[in-house]
């Protein structure tokens, strides 16, 4: 291998390593989002249940309105 070929190879390796680290970050973010989605759906179900119970006489009315926010 000539020095030029080695330099070119090192550039390719550098590019691949960068992409690999970007893919790792994307996977970790997506996995976190999926976990957050499931938790959010469970929270919404509980909030609906509470509001339905409140209007059907199953639970006393709370003075504070239950709101959720999604970042």
């Amino acid at each position: 291998m000539t020095p030029n070929e080695i330099t070119a190879l090192l550039a390719v390796i550098g590019e691949l390593v960068t992409r690999l680290s970007e893919a790792i970050v994307a996977i970790r973010q997506t996995a976190a989002d999926l976990g957050a989605d499931e938790a959010q759906l469970a929270r919404l179900d509980a909030l609906y249940a509470e509001r339905i119970a409140r209007r059907t006489g199953g639970a006393p009315r709370s003075a504070t309105s239950h709101r959720v926010s999604r970042s």
Binding site: M1, R51, S65, R67, V68
Partner: protein
């Protein structure tokens, strides 16, 4: 001299071999990571979760507004009862929408039940304010219902985009 040249050639080809092996596994690793990211990425469902949250928020706003109006005696007990009878199925349908999203398998198109329920909830919310007499209370609630319809349209857009 010949032996030294052989050492030099052998050492260069050894390094080149190592680099090729390293490159090979790096490319394989990258391909696997990108494939994994594509499998995990489920844009439609995630949007539906956001849609479900906004739907809950808009329905909660309707309920809270009506409760405030009732407590301020801008709605009679009869109107409150009649409104309540229509609100509970709306909340139940909202909960059903949420349950359908929970059961939505990853990377699958949006379930047809979601479209049915969202269309149903739209009709139910339209009926909410029809029983109220014209006035400030009805206008206020109609505004909240309109906001809910905006959210519903957003969820329906999931289907226009192919569901995922």
């Amino acid at each position: 001299m010949r032996q030294r040249r052989c050492y030099s050639t052998c050492s260069t080809s050894f390094i080149a071999g190592l680099v090729r092996v390293f490159l090979f596994w790096l490319i394989i690793g990258e391909a696997l990571m990108i494939a994994g990211a594509c499998v995990l990425h489920d844009h439609g469902r995630h949007q539906a979760v956001i849609g479900s949250t906004l739907l809950y928020e808009s329905l909660a706003a309707i309920q809270d507004t009506e409760q405030t109006l009732f407590e301020a005696q801008q709605l009679s007990a009869d109107q409150h009862r009649a409104f309540n009878a229509r609100l509970v199925p709306v909340l139940q349908t909202g909960r059903d929408v949420n349950a359908v999203i929970v059961a939505w398998p990853t990377n699958q198109p949006a379930p047809v039940e979601l479209l049915t329920l969202v269309t149903q909830i739209r009709a139910l919310t339209e009926d909410l304010v029809t029983l109220l007499p014209e006035g400030a209370a009805k206008s206020l609630l109609a505004g909240k219902v309109l906001a809910a319809h905006g959210v519903i349209l957003g969820i329906l857009a999931l289907f226009a985009g192919g569901g995922v």
